[in-house]
Amino acid sequence: MDRSLRWLVPICLVAAGLYLFWGLRAANWAFVLELRATRLAALTVVGASVGVATVLFQTVSTNRILTPSIMGFDALYVLMQTAGVAFLGISGFAALPGGPKFLLETAGLVAAALLLFGTLLGRGAQDLPRMILTGVIFGILFRSAAGFVGRLLDPNAYAVVQQASFATFSQVEPGLLPWAGLLALSAMGFALALAPRLDVLALGRRTSVPLGLAHDRLALLTLGLVAVLVASATALVGPIGFFGLIVASLAHALTERARHAALLPAAALSAVALLVGGQFLFERLLHLEGTLSIVVELAGGLFFLWLLMKGRIR
């Protein structure tokens, strides 16, 4: 086992323990505990999904700068939700059963991601600058499109959409948790089973094809998994921007060797540690609700800069 996992696991457990039991009062402990456990589960699913999705995406695109979020995956998901509200109206949208709706949206995201990014990654993967530009443009396009459709809505519907377009760690969709959790867990298990092949995929097409890897098929499959994970995380708390970039670089920096069997768990665990620990710190200790998403980005951003300056991003 990679050395990093040996201390990431206890850190996650401590963070989870603190999150669950800190300041629990005798009066209504059962109710509070259940509430906290639900949120903890959601944070875990979100963190692990974002971490794993980002590592997977960077492996397919053989770079350490792009993330699904920068490429507009989550913006596309928000756009689909906004379009849903626009077409069905706020009551029609709310009347749809949460689980099946989520599965449908996920399927939509997978299809769109394969269509848009599959061709981009297939043979043009060597052309990184073009990929980055295209991705950033897609990201902006989806965000603006979602914003535009939002403007066309009436204020009540717009409020619903607004809520879906920003990360809110303190409000998760409890109804979606089983669906998103199950889907995300299966995707992560699948990715872990692919780990040795992902190591070869990470070498890049020129090297992996002569080694006999079915590169293009694996790249598409991996992109599909990324889409599923992004959909799960976004459905639960909304898009969370640069978080994935930070967590993926953390995973690469912490693990001793570039092996996905260690990279994927390391990314998932450091994401969970950051989210749960951060939420504990800000909500419980500092009583600053809703600031975590900002602070995570800031603190992580500083760490990212430090990594860059140490030359460990490659």
Binding site: T59, T207, L211, A258, R314
Partner: protein, 252 residues
């Protein structure tokens, strides 16, 4: 034997390779020469199935490249591209280890470890084995990639400009090693190279490309002549003889 039949390739309508039909002999060192942009790398990448074959047929020891499972081909031929860069940040021994992937598919055996050790020793990488690739000089990195290709343990080795970045001593060491592989190991090697004198000294067979077509092919003494070299590179070169092999004098 690698058989090419009517191989053609177009990129955006531009003809890159036209009707390439030839045989690359087994158990021999073949030098692939030609001016920049002649199509050497493109031809190699078609044989290596890196690009889909638009026209014609390519068979490696009878295996049709377009139809044979990729893993089966990976056990038959190893390919080192012209640009050596990988996405991951790897140590030298990790990179060399990937050469064994076609054999173990993720479950390493002691035989794989031994093959990696051997490749590291053969390419003089022992002291560098634990260094990251990005902490090496260009020539050292080139040797690490060569060791990976060598560790694949295939009958065929296809190398695109492997002499780039190598100093004279390492270039000669590489060619002499490839020569050993051919003579003692019965392997077949195809090397893209620019220095025609290396081809003169070491190759059994030369394939010369120009503008996507075969310009000349045959043993060095037949290909490396003043008129053919003029046709290929557009400059006058005197060809002398040294120890029974051609020696091209390209001083103006």
């Amino acid at each position: 034997m690698i058989e090419l039949e009517g191989v053609g390739h177009r990129i955006d309508g531009a003809e890159i390779l036209t009707d390439v039909t030839t045989r690359l002999p087994k158990g021999a060192l073949t030098a692939l020469i030609g001016p920049n942009g002649a199509g050497k790398s493109t031809l190699l990448s078609l044989i290596a199935r890196l690009a889909p074959l638009g026209q014609g047929q390519i068979r490696v020891d009878g295996l049709d490249v377009a139809r044979t499972p990729s893993r089966q081909l990976a056990l038959k031929m190893a390919v080192l591209g012209q640009e050596t860069a990988v996405g991951s940040r790897l140590r030298v021994h990790e990179l060399v280890g990937f050469g064994r992937w076609p054999h173990h598919q993720g479950r390493r055996t002691p035989a794989d470890a031994a093959a990696v050790e051997e490749a590291i020793a053969v390419f003089d990488l022992g002291p560098l084995a634990d260094r990251f690739l990005d902490e090496l000089s260009g020539g050292q990195r080139q040797r690490a990639f060569l060791a990976m290709t060598f560790a694949q343990g295939t009958d065929w080795l296809l190398l695109d400009e492997p002499l780039n970045n190598l100093d004279m001593a390492h270039a000669r060491a590489l060619l002499s090693r490839l020569n050993d592989l051919v003579r003692a190991g019965g392997r077949s090697v195809v090397v893209v190279m620019h220095d025609v004198n290396y081809a003169a000294a070491w190759a059994d067979h030369i394939l010369a490309l120009k503008d996507g077509r075969i310009a000349a092919e045959g043993p060095p003494a037949e290909v490396l002549t003043t008129p053919i070299l003029h046709r290929l590179y557009g400059i006058e070169m005197e060809v002398a003889e040294h120890r029974g092999r051609p020696l091209v004098l390209h001083h103006a």
